[in-house]
């Protein structure tokens, strides 16, 4: 029975009969780590870390977080699968959990519920790291006093990330990335407007224009977060630093102009919720 998966992607070198083998009547609970192929006909609960191929045979059951080079599932898996090379769900597989691997194959008949990510994990991690280190470094060095400067830099980065026509479209998309925030704040005014029906909508339109200049501190914070995400492709693609410097000055104004619509769209709830009191006092 152990032989049946030989024809699948990850199998070629795992073709010799696997040494390690969990029989159908055996149950392992805890952490399992190793460098050799593992065939599971029984049950494993816990975590599995394997520098080789994990075969979950038809009667095998895995209730575990799995990290392996390859995973071939013919049995049942409840838990997340991370494979450095490939994941194969054969026709008899039943999987509930997230799959993460550069190569994933799901055969017809396989039952699967969960998310799939094919991003190579290392690249993603590296990018995030690079972006974080760059972004934080820049923003911290010029933190409170030179907020403006920070904005303009970010703005140029965003702008250089995309070719000219795509710029405006890319920005709203990128703004949408942190949706939880936006929703959290939209919820607040929504509730507030329940009891007091008329004033809330009335306030919205004319408060907008004056508020922007009043609260510059809010916006940079928002920008920093979002642009950290967008920023790094720009850094990669831009090899000429001279160009950045040239753009730096005009970019400050442009950045603002470009930002206005997006602020209204997504960041709006935030200033509304917080700024309400302020504006009332002023009035």
């Amino acid at each position: 029975m152990a032989q049946k998966n030989k024809n699948h992607l990850p199998s070629p070198e795992g073709s010799a009969e696997a040494v390690t083998h969990i029989g159908p009547g055996t149950r392992v609970v805890g952490r399992l780590a190793g460098q050799e192929d593992l065939r599971v006909h029984g049950t494993i609960e816990g975590t599995i870390r394997l520098a080789a191929t994990l075969f979950v045979e038809p009667e095998g059951v895995i209730l575990a977080e799995v990290h392996a080079r390859d995973v071939v599932v013919s049995g049942t898996v409840v838990g997340n699968l991370h494979a450095d090379n490939a994941i194969v769900l054969t026709a008899s597989a039943r999987v509930v959990g997230d799959l993460r691997s550069p190569r994933i194959s799901v055969e017809p008949g396989a039952a699967f519920r969960g998310a799939i990510s094919m991003d190579p994990p290392d690249v993603e991690a590296l990018e995030a790291e690079a972006a974080a280190s760059r972004g934080y470094g820049a923003s911290r060095s010029g933190s409170a006093p030179t907020v403006r400067g920070a904005i303009s830099e970010r703005a140029t980065d965003v702008r250089r990330a995309a070719p000219a026509p795509a710029r405006q479209q890319q920005q709203p998309q990128s703004v949408r990335l942190p949706p939880r925030r936006a929703q959290a704040f939209t919820a607040a005014p929504g509730r507030a407007s329940g009891p007091i029906v008329s004033p809330a909508p009335a306030r919205e339109p004319h408060n907008w224009a004056p508020r922007e200049p009043l609260r510059p501190a809010l916006r940079p914070a928002f920008h920093e977060e979002e642009t950290i995400i967008v920023q790094h492709p720009a850094i990669r693609s831009s090899d000429d630093r001279s160009r950045r410097r040239v753009e730096a000055l005009p970019a400050a104004d442009h950045g603002h102009a470009a930002d206005e619509p997006r602020n209204k769209k997504t960041a709006r709830p935030k200033p509304l919720a917080r700024g309400k009191h302020k504006v009332e006092r002023v009035d």
Binding site: V19, G23, T26, R27, V29, G30, R31, G34, E36
Partner: protein, 104 residues
């Protein structure tokens, strides 16, 4: 015959239980509870409380051993812990530290 084999490079930290023959070439820490026989092969390391019907040790066991039928320590084996079994074989060359309880 269904068997379970733990390969040389495998490390298990936790509990193994089952009804089958279990062969350990690798490392198991925690607890082993099998109804059939257990063999700790040369190079195998078990740091666990072991319960089984029949236990054969060629490698190393640190922990208490409880066998319902027999326990056998082969030459070159190392066992530190208490052994409880109705029949116990300790071969010449085996290293053992602990107490023996044959039920009396």
């Amino acid at each position: 015959m269904a068997t379970t084999v733990i390969g040389t490079s495998i490390v298990i930290d936790g509990e193994i239980s089952g009804e089958e023959h279990l062969v350990v070439h690798g490392t198991v820490k925690g607890r082993i509870n099998v109804r059939d026989s257990l063999v700790v092969e040369n190079g195998g390391l078990v740091e666990a409380t072991v319960e089984s019907s029949s236990i054969t040790v060629n490698g190393t066991v640190n922990g208490d051993i409880s066998a319902s039928e027999r326990a056998e320590l082969r030459p070159n084996s190392t066992v530190v812990g208490d052994i409880r079994a109705p029949r116990i074989l300790i071969a010449d060359g085996a290293s053992f530290k602990g107490t023996v309880d044959m039920g009396g």
